[in-house]
């Protein structure tokens, strides 16, 4: 079942980069769910204040404090009643994109319908993995420092009236490529006094594939790579097109009259037709060489004396950077109309012949997203002239350096990443703070 638009604009490719295959999927609507109750975050404080009022009332016998104690007890009773009836008629459906890109927003929404007669306030919707409320720390895509997610995405709905349906958006920005499996959705509320928190857990399985980080490739790089592929190759050496003059041949029945070369026909005495060339888009043959993890020194910043500088990236980081560079090249080439071919050396991955189609591009990106760097095949590759090799070490765009190990191929080293992309590596948060006049709180802004 599809949901929403058929295309999704992703990240900083706002104008033309469309993942046609990035279709959002809506999971199956779940009505049931397990309910649980716990003392809310403010419950302890509430009980404490109530106890203080009761103690003061007993100690001083001040009747107004007995009133106050009664009000607090009434509030607790209302909280309990609200917890009993809240979330009872809730239907939750997760709407998640099939694909996303690391570092970019993964569209993750929840369609929530309240079929109960009681409105719901301050509804929190959270993804959960593993057992218990803290299970995501041990299992799931948010467990561990190198997990794709930094934590379970959470959405918040302030109000959901009786019979109303709303969509809540959970900010989800995967940090790394790979697959993100969703297990269940937990909705909770502790309205009105944070006294009792009621939770309902809905088992809804889903999966999203996160592409590598996509960068904007420098315009000159692709132009250079296309030129290296051969300028003459831009037009096919066969007739049938409509671009430029290719040659003459004898007239065949069915040829349009406007293709008849009348002068030559008059000269020869039989009909002669003109043939025109067919344009052929440029081709980019990418080879991603991940056969070996490069040494750390390969990623060092080259200093004035040619020695590695202080910024040293690990081999695995360089490999990820190479994968991102390959994915970025694929996207950029697709945007420019290039036909792209891809071979991955090392990890098990299918090879793609040169083609230009959104599905073709998406399949290549899926392959790159799914690369398992722990299982590699050390078989030697066979690069040929015109191939563009992306490898984690240090390389050179042009000219091709013979004897580098990649034959006559053009080598793009991931260690020289900043030469190829406009956005610098080491993508970090850019945060600026300012004081809000109301609360003096800190609001964070920033991003690429």
């Amino acid at each position: 079942m599809s949901w929403g638009p058929r295309s999704e604009t992703v990240g900083f490719w706002p104008l033309s980069f469309e993942f046609v295959s990035m279709v959002q999927r809506a999971s199956q609507t779940t009505v049931g769910g397990r309910s649980s109750y716990r003392l809310g975050s403010g419950g302890v404080l509430y009980v404490l204040v109530t106890g203080v009022i009761l103690a003061a009332a007993i100690y001083t016998q001040a009747n107004l404090l007995f009133w106050g104690f009664g009000l607090m007890v009434g509030g607790a009773l209302v909280s309990a009643l609200h917890a009993a009836v809240a979330l009872s008629g809730l239907r939750v459906r997760r709407v998640v994109a099939r694909h996303g890109a690391a570092g970019e927003v993964l569209p993750l929404r929840y369609e929530i319908e309240n079929r109960a007669w009681w409105p719901v306030f301050a509804l929190t919707v959270r993804e959960a993995w593993g057992k218990g409320s803290r299970g995501w720390r041990k299992a799931g895509p948010a467990a561990g420092p190198h997990a794709p997610l930094g934590g379970p995405p959470e959405a918040w709905v302030m109000h959901l009236g009786r019979g109303q349906t709303t969509q809540a958006v959970a900010p989800c920005r995967p940090r790394r490529r790979g697959r993100i499996g969703f297990e269940r959705v937990v909705v909770s509320t502790s309205f009105p006094f944070s006294f009792i928190e009621k939770r309902r857990s809905f088992d809804i399985a889903d999966e999203a594939l996160v592409f590598p980080v996509l960068y904007r490739v420098r315009r000159s790089l692709l132009t250079t790579l296309a030129a290296a592929d051969g300028e003459g190759g831009r037009a096919a050496a066969r007739a049938g097109g409509s671009e430029e003059f290719y040659g003459l041949r004898a007239y065949r029945p069915g040829d349009p009259p406007r293709t008849i070369d009348w002068k030559r026909t008059a000269r020869v005495g039989e009909p002669v037709s003109r043939e025109l060339t067919t344009p052929r888009p440029p081709r980019l043959r990418l080879v991603l060489d991940l056969r070996e993890t490069p040494p750390i020194a390969a990623g060092g910043r080259r200093g004035a004396s040619g020695t590695p500088g202080p910024s040293i990236d690990s081999g695995r980081q360089l490999e990820e950077r190479a994968i991102s560079l390959a994915a970025s090249l694929i996207c950029e080439a697709h945007l420019r109309g290039h036909r792209v071919a891809l071979r991955v050396l090392g990890p098990d991955a299918p090879a793609f012949r040169a083609a230009h189609h959104p599905d073709h591009r998406t399949r290549m990106l899926e392959t790159l997203a799914d690369l398992d760097l722990t299982r590699r095949n050390q078989a030697a590759g066979a690069e040929s002239a015109g191939d563009v090799v992306v490898w984690p070490g240090r390389g050179a765009a042009l000219p091709t350096r013979p004897g580098f190990g990649h034959g006559r191929a053009t080598v793009l080293g991931a260690a020289d990443f900043e030469r190829y992309v406009t956005r610098p590596t080491g993508w970090t948060e850019v945060t600026s703070t300012r004081k809000t006049p109301a609360a003096g709180s800190v609001a964070a802004e920033g991003g690429p």
């Binding site: 975050s41 403010g42 404080l45 204040v49 003061a56 007993i58 016998q61 001040a62 009747n63 107004l64 404090l65 007995f66 009133w67 106050g68 104690f69 009664g70 009000l71 007890v73 009434g74 509030g75 209302v78 570092g103 409105p119 306030f121 301050a122 929190t124 959270r126 948010a142 997610l149 930094g150 934590g151 379970p152 995405p153 959470e154 959405a155 918040w156 302030m158 109000h159 009236g161 019979g163 109303q164 959970a170 900010p171 920005r173 502790s190 009105p192 944070s194 993508w427 948060e429 850019v430 004081k435 006049p437 109301a438 609360a439 003096g440 709180s441 609001a443 964070a444 920033g446 991003g447």
Partner: protein
């Protein structure tokens, strides 16, 4: 409406309201002015155009300063605990108002404000404070709801920020509440308020009271200005005692045989302290140590069960007065008695027969002067009941029943001789008869049993001459050495009458010259003065001729609240009079030498609209104090009994009605249909059933119609109007369905109309037009005005005609 902004405003308002209420409870206008100004300025400073806040270290330093001030107040100035804690929490709140606030600080601010209101609730009895408290509760409820919303949104935002560490900050959850959210929030608030209020009433009634605490939480030493008026000592020459404030001090309800006998023109004297000793140096009347030592401590519950066993034998239960005295906010330990306003021959002195109170565990009573005192400080309001006999001094019984016995009628252990039964020994009770009398070093006589209320050391010959002159004019003689004579009451009455007739009542009398005794100046020179001088003069004259007499201070209760049926006693009603011991068989008699007409004129019930409004307000406030602030075990039992009785009666009545109905139904077959009333009854029942069926059918049809229009989940008000206006679209659908064109549930009206128009533009053009009108009304909020209605009718007619042409 952004709930964050509204929440900030509500917190600010709640804190300021708490500070205001606390200052009001403490009766400290200066503190209110200062704290209110500082608090109000914080909004401009922190939320104004500059939006500045003080740094965290300054807040911490200020908090340390507040702790130091708290310690100083508690130790050095010995201020009360509650007021000091109130100042402390107030200082912390003011500091935090100027600080940068996150949710944690807001929670602290709200808790501090709540604690401050708890303290203020202990201090205050005023109804105005009750109004403030109610407003505070409403505000606190709204603030708590909004705080929960904003805090949960912030928590989610922070969780998402943590999850997005290393990336750009995620957007904050939208905290703008739409109309529906606001409406539901208001309704939920009302539900919470109703349920909480109901539970609060139940808790208030159900929780038993244990009486007042013995800990002095500051009721006697708070910053309230002392109320002038009644004092336990009277210093002559220091101005009249009846010059205090107009705030009600106590309410008095007098009953006889269960009936309220209070009346507008029937004043009573509220008896406070009996002062038997006079300090000639300081011109001060006070209660002698001999009388003080005679105080005996009684358990209130035991005294209430056997009200007179320890003091006097029981008179006829019908011949007693009962008074309920509601002290509003007393700051002293004296418990007041009540005596009738004396006539010419006076009225019987106060003689306690019964005492009851839930707010007191024990009280002290002296058999010598019948003065009552609380053994523990009275904190806040207190209600107690007293009984005393209906007797007249000249008609007193010789057996001593129902009158205060004179000092000579008491046994050495100070019990009434008529009773002849010693009271239970109390370790706290000193023995007044034991110590031998020994004069003071400065020559003053020590008061003992023999000379109690008899000493007069201010120009005794001069006083005696005047008294004997007055008595001779009245045809009486009195031997100053005689202990009692049968004419003592008439002699004292003649002296009082002389003062009333020959001396002028004046509140503005000039002070006595230095060294002169104010009583002598009044008696022999100025001949005008206030009630204390009249009472002191009568006591002096009586004592000079050997009649025991003492001064009594209290109030002249003459302002009657007709709404509540009680007397309102204010500090301005303070009064003084005298009691004389008329000898065995008569006992102590109340005599008021002050001219009665002038006293009544001063203490009369004010008239006019404002007075009426004030009376109404005071009545409401009294009800507030009696039913809420001073709610005690007795009131609780009364309310519970009343509720139980009402419930039982309702249950009995309901059961009876149900039984009657069942019996009537059982009798129906016997009645038969021949009887016209049975037929009418059956027809009515059938009509009711039919009407119910039709109504149910209509309701179901309406629900189906709304469901077809898919507006059944809209708010009720919006739903009703739309269901009526969009009826034409349902008629169009019905018409189409009758001819085989059914709109699938998944298809929108526009798509359905487009599909039909594409198939047959000529026939289904009205469908497109009607669908456009549907969208205008449903989503464009357009009314179905006469023009549209006419178009709709025309389109429906055209559509129907097109089908008719085809089928025909």
């Amino acid at each position: 409406m952004n709930i964050l902004q509204l929440f900030h405003r509500l917190v600010y308002a709640q804190v300021l309201l708490g500070i205001t209420a606390s200052c009001m409870a403490e009766r400290n206008p200066g503190l209110l002015l200062a704290a209110g100004a500082v608090g109000a300025m914080s909004w401009y400073v922190t939320e104004g155009p500059r939006s500045r806040t003080i740094p965290r270290w300054a807040v911490n330093a200020g908090a340390l300063g507040a702790v130091a001030v708290l310690a100083f107040e508690l130790t050095t100035r010995r201020a009360d605990v509650v007021a000091a804690m109130g100042h402390f929490t107030m200082a912390l709140q003011l500091l935090m108002l100027y600080a940068r606030k996150s949710d944690r600080e807001y929670a602290q601010l709200l808790v501090l404000s709540l604690l401050q209101m708890i303290g203020a609730s202990v201090l205050s009895v005023s109804m105005i404070y009750g109004v403030f408290l109610a407003a505070y509760c409403v505000l606190a409820l709204a603030t708590a709801l909004l705080f929960h919303l904003s805090a949960s949104a912030e928590r989610v935002h922070q969780a998402n920020r943590r999850a997005a560490a290393g990336g750009p900050a995620p957007p904050r959850p939208a905290t703008v509440a739409g109309p529906a959210a606001r409406r539901h929030l208001r309704r939920l608030g009302l539900v919470i308020a109703a349920v909480s209020g109901g539970v609060a009433v139940a808790v208030f009634l159900a929780v038993p009271r244990t009486g007042k605490t013995s800990l002095d939480l500051g009721g006697a030493t708070s910053g309230a200005a002392p109320q002038a008026g009644f004092t336990e000592t009277v210093r002559l020459g220091a101005g009249p005692i009846g010059s205090g404030s107009r705030e009600p001090l106590l309410n008095l309800t007098v009953r006889s045989r269960g009936q309220n006998i209070g009346w507008e023109n029937d004043p009573w004297l509220v008896r406070g302290a009996a002062l038997d000793a006079y300090d000639t140096q300081n011109h001060t009347w006070y209660r002698s140590p001999f009388a003080l030592a005679s105080d005996r401590v009684f358990d209130v519950r035991q005294f209430g069960r056997t009200p007179h066993d320890d003091v006097a034998p029981p008179p006829d239960p019908g011949n007693r007065y009962t008074a309920e005295i509601a002290l509003r906010d007393t700051r002293q330990r004296v418990l007041f008695g009540v005596v009738a306003t004396p006539m010419r021959l006076g009225s019987s002195g106060f003689h306690l027969l019964g005492f009851g109170s839930d707010g007191l565990g024990a009280f002290a009573l002296s058999p010598i002067d019948q003065q009552m005192r609380a053994t523990d400080p009275i904190l806040g309001p207190l209600t107690y009941q007293i009984d005393w006999p209906v007797t007249r001094p000249h008609a007193a019984r010789r057996d001593g029943i129902g009158r205060p016995p004179g000092i000579d009628e008491l046994d050495p252990d100070l019990t009434a001789t008529a009773l002849g039964r010693p009271p239970a020994a109390d370790p706290r009770t000193p023995s007044p008869a034991a110590p031998p009398a020994r004069d003071h070093a400065d020559g003053r006589r020590v008061i003992d049993r023999q000379n109690y209320a008899r000493l007069w050391e201010v120009e005794p010959p001069r006083y005696r001459r005047l008294a004997q002159t007055v008595l001779r004019q009245a045809g009486l003689e009195r031997d100053p050495e005689a202990r009692h004579t049968p004419d003592d009451l008439r002699a004292a009455a003649a002296l009082a009458d002389h003062l009333r007739r020959r001396y002028a009542y004046d509140l503005d009398n000039p002070p006595a010259r230095a060294g002169a005794d104010p009583t002598s100046v009044f008696l022999f020179e100025s001949r005008r003065g206030h009630c204390e001088l009249f009472a002191a003069a009568l006591v002096g004259l009586c004592r000079s001729v050997g009649i025991p007499a003492r001064m009594v201070t209290g109030f002249h209760a003459g302002e009657f609240n007709t709404l509540g049926g009680y007397y309102v006693v204010r500090p301005t009603h303070a009064h003084a009079w005298a009691e004389v011991d008329a000898g065995p068989g008569v006992g102590w008699v109340t005599l008021d030498p002050t001219p009665g007409d002038e006293v009544r004129a001063i203490h009369r019930t004010p008239d006019g609209l404002l007075a009426g409004l004030r009376q109404a307000y005071e009545h409401v406030e009294f009800a507030w104090i009696r039913l809420v602030v001073a709610f005690d075990q007795r009131t609780r039992q009364d309310v519970l009994q009343s509720v139980g009785q009402t419930f039982r009666e309702t249950r009995r009545g309901g059961a009876q009605r149900l039984d009657d109905l069942i019996a009537a139904v059982r009798r129906l077959p016997a009645l038969g249909l021949r009887r016209p009333e049975a037929l009418v009854m059956l027809l009515c029942a059938a009509g009711l059933l039919l009407a119910g069926f039709v109504a149910a059918r209509q309701v179901l049809a309406r629900r189906r119609r709304l469901a077809r229009l898919r507006i059944d989940r809209l708010p009720a008000a919006e739903r009703r109007g739309l269901g009526r206006r969009l009826g034409f679209y349902l008629r169009m659908l019905d018409l189409l369905e009758r001819h085989g064109y059914r709109r699938p549930a998944w298809q929108s009206p526009a798509a359905f109309a487009a599909e039909l128009a594409e198939a047959n533009p000529l026939r289904f053009d009205p469908v497109v037009a009607l669908t456009d009108t549907f969208y205008e009304v449903r989503y464009g909020d357009r009314p179905l005005d006469p023009e549209r209605r006419q178009r709709v009718r025309a389109h429906l007619k055209q559509l129907e005609a097109s089908f008719g042409r085809t089928t025909g």
